[in-house]
């Protein structure tokens, strides 16, 4: 009988053990971590929305909603990568006529080679069907969405503003800027599409200093700042006057919900999917990948070393992993559902830890990665003192993830 029992149990186990291969679509219960891992550095910036780090300048910038005009918290980082002292606070400019309306940063991006920070901001505004040429929107036409700061030893200095007028929508909670692989084209979100609820995108050619320039001048390698006559990125700030290229997307707002620069095409997060954009015959060509049976606002990040991009569908438990080649989306996605979690904000790829971090309410989820960038089916959850974790930035050389939280532990 004992033999029979052991044989039966063995057979039962053989038929009931789960398969070793991970299904393409899977649900996983996150494993709670008792303590935040050592690679996570928390910085206290309440109501934070976005963050960016520039290791070469030892600078961490966090953008936040603020009632007292303190929209950017600029941290100096010490040699150990930890914030050295209290941050410097900066207010984002807006027209005086909009003084009673709250503006807020949605995206921060350092140029990978140049000491330049691009900030995308938005402001509370009339309903979306009362914008563009509507009389109620007149005061918003002077609002500048794009702010360009020079990174100087003394801190950040505003040098140019751009992206205003009827071409852009206001009052959105998503959208950021992106640079192409060469760092010569700056893509902007939330431009006006063909209808009031359709998002477009826009882009500027950049000169050698990372400032917008007319396309023909960029092609000729010209810069608006003449060498020897004026110092680069002079201490004046001006509105850009160069031409902006715009393109409708046929999708709802927000557009530009995360960008990844492939060698041949840009990939952009958007409504219910992502878009690959390349230039053909002088124009921007869009190819949309739609997220299977699910609909919603998707925010995107790309793996810097592997052919993988990650789409976090906002306020859902779903993270999509898609393969890409040179920026063109490929094959079927992996779809992970983290049980009991509502994902928020942009994914951040942690190359040294082989994980993707995505914010959520009072926590960060860490999705495990295979060596090729695919999801490995494991998810860890770190509880943090913040109502909503959205602002994260990763210092790749130091292997450190900065997370903005509402209060200290």
């Amino acid at each position: 009988m004992r033999r029979l029992g052991s044989a039966l149990l063995g057979l039962l186990l053989a038929f009931t053990l789960p398969a070793a291969t991970l299904p393409r679509e899977f649900e996983v219960t996150p494993t709670p971590l008792a303590e935040p891992p050592a690679f996570i550095t928390q910085v206290v910036v309440s109501n934070a929305l976005c963050a960016a780090v520039r290791e070469a300048s030892s600078l961490l910038v966090v953008g936040q909603r603020s009632t007292n005009d303190q929209h950017l918290a600029v941290f100096r980082l010490g040699a150990n990568g930890l914030p050295a002292g209290e941050p410097t606070r900066l207010a984002l400019p807006k027209p005086a006529v909009l003084a009673k309306h709250a503006n807020y940063p949605l995206g921060l991006l350092f140029h990978p080679r140049l000491p330049v920070l691009y900030v995308w901001q938005d402001i509370s505004a009339p309903p979306q069907d009362q914008q563009e040429k509507h009389a109620a929107f007149t005061n918003w036409l002077e609002f500048e969405h794009l702010l360009i700061y020079a990174v100087k030893p003394t801190g950040l200095e505003l040098v140019e503003t751009a992206a205003h007028g009827v071409g852009f929508h206001c009052g959105l909670t998503g959208g950021t800027v992106g640079l192409d692989a060469a760092g010569k084209m700056l893509f902007l979100p939330n431009s006006i599409g063909a209808t009031y609820d359709e998002a477009g995108i826009a882009y500027y050619a950049l000169d050698e200093q990372g400032l917008p320039v007319d396309s023909d001048e960029a092609d000729a390698g010209k810069s608006r700042v003449k060498a020897g006559k004026e110092k680069p990125l002079a201490s004046r700030f001006a509105r850009t006057v160069v031409a902006l290229q715009r393109k409708r997307t046929h999708r709802y707002y927000p557009s530009g919900a995360g960008w990844f620069a492939g060698s041949d095409a840009m990939v952009m997060g958007g409504y219910s999917g992502c878009m690959s954009a390349d230039f053909q015959r002088g124009g921007l060509r869009q190819s949309w990948f739609t997220t299977l049976e699910f609909a919603g606002h998707c925010v995107l990040a790309g793996h810097p070393n592997q052919p993988a991009i990650y789409l976090a569908m906002q306020n859902t438990p779903r993270l999509f992993q898609l393969a890409h080649a040179d920026g063109y989306v490929s094959l079927l996605p992996q779809v992970a559902s983290a049980k009991g979690v509502q994902l928020q904000g942009a994914p951040v790829v942690l190359t040294q830890q082989a994980r993707v971090a995505v914010g959520a309410a009072k926590s960060v989820c860490l999705f495990g990665l295979e060596a090729d960038g695919r999801l490995d089916g494991k998810v860890e959850q770190v509880t943090l003192p913040s109502a909503s974790v959205r602002a994260m930035a990763y210092a790749e050389k130091r292997g450190r993830l900065y997370v903005a939280v509402d209060k200290g532990n």
Binding site: M1, R2, R3, L4, G5, S6, A7, L8, L9, G10, L11, L12, L13, A19, T21, P23, R24, E25, K247, H250, D264, A265, G273, S276, D278, Q280, G283, L284, R285, Q286, S287, W288, F289, T290, L292, E293, P307, A323, H324, A325, D326, Y328, V329, S330, L331, L332
Partner: protein, 276 residues
């Protein structure tokens, strides 16, 4: 199974700790040895059983033994029923969840592996998939659900289509390996950039088989075509050829039901198999 008939010398399969002598456990383990021959591999597989036998040692855990006996009796019936059913032919339907790779090959956007529906010269979308003379699709199923040790006796693939389609769909077995970055121009871009012998996987006997697997004509009112794919599935499942999926080619425009979006359950691959 009597191990004395084996030409191999039986290996010692029980550790010293589990050789009390006279318990009969050696006999049990030797029978398991017969399943695995004389290789070392079965030894690892047996570790769970030997550990279980230790736990079942008389007097060591009488209450546990009683429970186990009851469990064994209770499980015996369903197990025998299960084994009886596996001895006969079975048909399973592979749904789109079993599709493990999918791609679009579009001559009008030779680098896109997803978006083939052209809205205007600068906009392509992925859903619904539209087939045409210059747009075809690659679809690969995983056959993990079919147990090993079975042979395929019949397989048919149901390809659903939108209304008013009148084109002919031709199913080809794909020969060339494809992967990340597959598109009209390339069969893969990562980890290596490789082109099709003829763009769009059109190279006969190189990119795709010499002869098509089958074909069907969509006609008004017909919501799907069914193609006999027995030979291909048999080749793949039996290991005679690597599974590189099918190419769906069209002679005219037609809107397919997407195998990856709403309505995808209409895609079905019915496979009948029986023990070899």
């Amino acid at each position: 199974m009597n191990v004395s008939h084996s030409t191999h010398r039986p290996q010692t399969l029980i550790s010293n700790r589990l050789q009390p002598g006279g318990t009969g456990r050696c006999e049990l383990v030797s029978r398991f040895n017969g399943f695995g021959g004389a290789s070392r591999k079965p030894l690892k597989r047996l570790s769970a059983f030997t550990a279980l036998n230790t736990w079942l040692k008389p007097g060591a855990n009488e209450r546990g033994n009683r429970c186990l006996r009851r469990l064994a009796i209770w499980l015996l019936g369903p197990l025998l029923a299960f084994l009886a059913t596996t001895a006969s032919a079975r048909t399973i339907t592979l749904k789109p969840e079993a599709v493990d790779a999918f791609a679009t090959l579009s001559e009008s956007h030779p680098r896109s592996g997803w978006a083939a529906q052209q809205i205007d010269p600068t906009l392509f979308v992925s859903n619904p998939p539209i087939g045409g003379a210059n747009t075809s699709y690659l679809v690969r199923y995983s056959f993990d659900q079919i147990p090993k040790g079975n042979r395929i006796t019949h397989a048919e693939w149901v390809v659903p289509v939108g209304f008013a389609a009148t084109s002919t769909v031709t199913v080809w077995r794909v020969l060339a390996e494809w992967g990340i970055g597959v598109c009209h121009q390339f069969r893969m871009v990562h980890p290596k950039r490789l082109e099709w012998s003829v763009p769009g996987a059109r190279g006969r006997s190189v990119d795709r088989a010499t002869k098509p697997t089958g074909s069907g004509k969509f006609e008004p009112g017909m919501v799907h075509v069914t193609v006999n794919v027995t030979q291909d599935v048999e080749l793949w499942h039996g290991g005679a050829a690597p599974n590189r999926g099918w190419l769906l080619a069209f002679d005219g425009p037609c809107i397919l039901i997407s195998p990856t979006h709403a309505g995808r359950q209409q895609w079905q691959l019915r496979v009948t198999y029986e023990p070899e």
